[in-house]
């Protein structure tokens, strides 16, 4: 398709292309990383206990769930709901944060933890797309292909991610680093094409930007795969 270049487009420098009148802000300024700071595993005040990303680059698929600091955070989470069932989504989130995906055994473990039946937990977990029912790569790359990104070339961006990682949608690349899938609207429609990589958004991504983004992600991947 024809490129949608205009003189205002600055080119994507690895995370966002069109920052318009705010181009003086750093990536950290826009992402708010210094304000957020380091989030301790046990959580701070309980009201924010659910604010942790549950799609992390570093995964511990064999680790026991809900022990040590994770136990502490889980208790904080549970204290925020009038019944155990209310804590189901955040508990599933926490399990995925630790293991990187939710195996049937993980869902059963969550059911046991909250006193719910295993079949109920499976029924809920399979309703939601963000629970990975199979392992994913270090980086889960989700390309928005919904209408606002689509009319600006999202299908080509999706194709570029598949080509440059040598994968089909949902597969893990041979080096274990990437799983690419198309996504529904990510709620950042003014910045097409929007790509979510684990917890971060990459904005105004064009097919030409894809190699540089993948290179950055290779650089940032945790050194020791567990």
């Amino acid at each position: 398709m024809a490129e949608q270049k205009t003189e205002l487009k600055g080119g994507n420098d690895g995370w966002a292309g069109e920052r318009g009148d705010f181009a003086h802000l750093s990536e950290a300024d826009v992402r708010g990383t210094s304000y957020v700071g380091v989030r301790p595993l046990e959580g701070r005040a309980a009201g924010g206990a659910c604010s942790y990303p549950y799609q992390l680059a570093e995964k511990h698929p064999e680790a026991p769930l809900f022990e040590g600091p994770y136990r502490e955070r889980l208790e904080k989470i549970k204290s925020r709901y009038p019944d155990a069932q209310g804590a189901l989504l955040p508990t599933l989130n926490l399990a995925q944060e630790i293991h990187g995906w939710l195996s049937p055994a993980d869902m059963d473990r969550v059911a046991e933890e909250l006193g719910l039946s295993p079949v109920y937990v499976r029924g809920v977990a399979t309703f939601y797309t963000m629970y990975n029912k199979a392992p994913v790569g270090t980086w889960l790359v989700q390309v928005c292909t919904n209408v606002c990104c689509n009319i600006c070339g999202a299908d080509e961006v999706m194709q570029a991610f598949l080509e440059h990682t040598g994968t089909e949608p949902g597969e893990i690349s041979d080096d274990g680093l990437f799983t690419c899938i198309p996504a529904e609207c990510l709620g950042a429609c003014g910045f097409p094409t929007v790509v979510q990589v684990n917890e971060r958004y990459f904005e105004n991504v064009t097919p030409e930007d894809v190699p540089a983004i993948l290179e950055r992600l290779r650089r940032e991947a945790p050194k020791q795969e567990r």
């Binding site: 606002c148 009319i151 003014g190």
Partner: protein, 432 residues
Amino acid sequence: MAYPYRHERETRVLTEAFGDPAARSIEGWKKYGGYEALRKALGMAPNDVIEVVKASGLRGRGGAGFPTGVKWSFMPKDDSRQPHYLLINADESEPGAFKDRELLRWTPHQVIEGALIGAHAIRAKHVYIYMRGEFFEPAQIVGRAIEEAYEAGFAGADIMGSGISIDVTLHLGAGAYICGEETGLMNSLEGRRGQPRVKPPFPAVMGAFSRPTTINNVETVATVPHILRRGAEWYRSMGTEKSPGTKLFNVSGHVVRRGNFELPLGFPLKDLIYDVCGGIRDGRELKAVIPGGSSVPILAASECDINLDYESVAAAGSMLGTASVIVMDDRTDIVKAVRRMVEFYSHESCGQCTPCREGTEWTAKIMRRIEAGEGTMEDLDTLLEIGRNMTGTTICVLSDSCAAPVASSIAKFRDEYMARIRREVPAGALTV
């Protein structure tokens, strides 16, 4: 000073601090007058807070435009028998909508302050901010802000020494558009599938955890502190009589400057596109506009001489919705764009109601067939017939939202469908 572009015709109220990283912290937010309104509200009786918001004419920003003060007044006046809840709908997922994300990531305390005022007004002791799971970055910012609010004594027990206690909890979803529907949201919060509930009972009678509940959009509650601080009269001095105040217009698609712009309601759509957003990219022509997110009927270029307030957009046969303006230039392939929207609704249908579960799926199949050049003339009638059966027949309006762009695009861009059916590539359309 919205993000990522500024424009001189903006009226900065909610967006004043956008682009100022310091405004995220509680200290930074106080420099913008933060938490003065909460202090004032806690000194007022709950009913008086409701009266101020009623007088301001503020209408809910989640899409329906229902008057916020009136919604709050539906809550029982007695909270001694059962707890009340306030839920903040931060599940922004309507294709085209990206305003709440900016409010959450630039001004988390604006949202929290508004939520606390709302909770006081409806006598809720607990606020849940239900944020879509994909918003990890805004979630970490809001989570940190909630922790700061507790540390400062602005949330939790005995807020500012008022004797009033309100807890705030951030809750993350896990990827389901339907959880943005208020009763689906409540089910999801309760640890269920996010399937909408039959109304009645309405949330104010039996909502989250079977208790009286109000659900407000992020932008709605973010507006409330400004109304408390500056008064209902001031708020009414902006916008139109029936649609007062400012609104975040989130513009996507083929304009030169995409982004959020805060403008008074009633702002002309053409001025938004050609002045504020700098016109169509690459000197192209306008073909169509979806003025309120993907769920509302599409407007052809010839129908765009309208003002952007709830009444005017409705009079033009569409809806203001979330004021998420999707602009399409003359190269846009309408059939492909509509097919993609329909596939979205098909993917997101929760499956409870037959007209939606089956209707969205069959609509998507037929749209794919037409796009591939394998459609027939009868397909257009079938699409419209399915759409009629999907409208007003289900628990929630997801089904209606799927039917609306199909019907409006067939009515207004019939020649593009015909070209596909006749296996001609429509003139000016993208070839894929």
